[in-house]
């Protein structure tokens, strides 16, 4: 089941990112990804879905090469970005090439102000102050809330503000591709909507590609063109977003719509256990 998706009509040349059958081990003994393959077309938005602990974050970190910092390593398989094998590239080289990750859990620099945080995002940019200034204002226009708090230390801002800060920081590097790890976490509903709109806008206007790890399946499948579902370190299902939305299992377990419309959280039954694709 875990072979590369045959159905996807993506020609290799159009792929900005392709991950081929990678395995990831933490601490030399814990095998977390057991052969994951996925592809992101240039200018596409791809969603990576899956339960807690399925390995979404790990996949993204494997791509952006941040695993090394957590004592994890890619032990098998290969990763290509923009036509280059990037397995041995340092994270900063990758950012320079245009692939940046927004990490889960708001990894802001607590002792830097919001504005300084945003500026660190522009670290690899060769273009001058003016362009950076312009993008800074752009970020503030996306997220007015952090515009108001731009001179406070990031460590003192609220959870949602930090999330916006992390996202804005990535935008500041003018990437070709963004690996977004749970962007909607902890954000108020209308901001979530806004974030996805921003994703769409960047994608359409600037041609930025996205790989999106999300729990908010609803949103993710609305904006993405293609989706992968990960379970226990394996891709168990993938397909066009539309097709996934129609899939009965996805409907039942990820979208919360059964035959009888939306379920209420009040009436969740204890016996309901998820059917596992891989048992």
């Amino acid at each position: 089941m875990n072979k590369a998706p045959a159905a996807a009509p993506i020609v290799a040349a159009e792929r900005i990112l392709s991950v081929n059958n990678i395995e990831v081990i933490y601490d030399h003994v814990i095998l977390v990804l057991k052969g994951v393959s996925l592809h992101v077309p240039r200018g596409g938005i791809v969603a990576l879905l899956g339960a807690n602990g399925a390995g979404k974050t790990t996949t993204l970190k494997a791509i952006s090469n941040l695993l090394h910092a957590e004592r994890g390593e890619v032990s098998k398989g290969s990763i290509h970005f923009d036509g280059m094998e990037i397995h041995r590239q340092s994270p900063n080289e990758l950012v320079r090439r245009g692939c940046i990750q927004v990490m889960e859990g708001r990894e802001c620099f607590a002792h830097l102000t919001i504005e300084e945080n945003l500026l660190t995002g522009a670290f690899t940019r060769p273009d001058g102050r003016v362009a950076i200034r312009r993008d800074l204002d752009l970020v503030y226009s996306y997220f007015p809330r952090i515009g108001q708090r731009k001179n406070s230390l990031a460590g003192y801002t609220s959870g949602g503000e930090q999330q916006m800060c992390a996202l804005g920081r990535a935008l500041m590097s003018k990437p070709k591709m963004i690996l977004l790890d749970e962007p909607s976490m902890g954000l108020a509903p209308q901001i979530v909507e806004e974030i996805f709109e921003i994703v769409k806008r960047l994608n359409q206007q600037e041609g930025v590609s996205f790989l999106l790890a999300e729990q908010n399946t609803n949103m993710a499948l609305k904006y993405a063109a293609y989706g992968y579902i990960l379970e226990s370190g394996r891709v168990v299902l993938d397909g066009e977003a539309k097709a996934l939305r129609e899939n009965e299992d996805v409907k039942e377990f990820y979208l919360g719509v059964g035959e009888s419309g939306r379920r209420s959280f009040r009436n969740v039954k204890h016996y309901k256990r998820r059917k596992r694709w891989l048992a």
């Binding site: 941040l66 910092a69 957590e70 950012v95 300084e116 660190t120």
Partner: protein
Amino acid sequence: MLLYKIFIDPFVQMGASPDLFVQTLWEGLVAGVLYALIALGFVLIFKASGVFNFAQGIMVVFGALTLVGIYEILVRWGISQENVAAFLALGLTIGVMFLLAFAVERIVLKPLVNQPDIILFMATFGLTYFLIGFGEYVFGGSSKVMIADQLYLPKGFIDLKILGGVVSLQKIDIAAAVIASIMVTGLALFFSKTRIGRALRAVADSHKAALSVGISLDQIWVIVWFASGLVALVTGIMWGARSEVSFALEVIALRALPVLILGGFTSIPGAIVGGLIIGIGEKLGDFYWGALLGRGIESWLAYFIALVFLLFRPQGLFGEKIIERV
């Protein structure tokens, strides 16, 4: 009686011989500057990586020994112009310090990215051990005389006949103060005005996040270790000129601890202000109150001074705020 000795007598003495008082102040100032130099080396590295660099002391020794060692070799090779040899040696030593920074980054720091501070602290201890062994192996254990004259460092003193006595200022101390101020200003500007400075603070905050935004830890670390290597070299020259160049210099690294903590681990100006407070505080304390307690109190006075300040500002005078949030 005791109260008199504590609260009155010292001030009477200060008034009675103002020249001694001024001299003590001056000594405190000089000591402060010298402490600040050592602390500066720590601050640079701490600022850039959150690493408390235990090896700073040995780097001071290593820098000074390398300088004198290379100088001796050059002279032996027949470079007769002493000053030329000295400055050539200085240049080569700077090169060695760069190599050291580079090697440390590659071999020690890079594999330890994103590890807890205390682990990196331990690694610098390993480095210390290695450098001690290596340094002694290469340079031997004998002491050397700092080539201060050859580097045009001033000698002798200026006697100021003021306040009914003599205040004597060593020229080398004046030079130390000047050089230290230039270095501190330069480094402070470099790290606050360039984008490297911001990146540095980012790295100190979180290695992982810094990596994720594309800050090159390799580059940053080589830069700061090189910078602190240079600071170590200057420190070595200054302290070496005051006594001798030997492994005994290593103990002075400890002098920097209270300064560092008082100033705040991450602040370049903090190092200098902390240095001055500690320097002046402990010289005055030891000079006017030391006899009461049976002398030798300088060894702990500095820590108590720093402790008192810290009780009011737990992050040091200029340290970064300790953020507590849930």
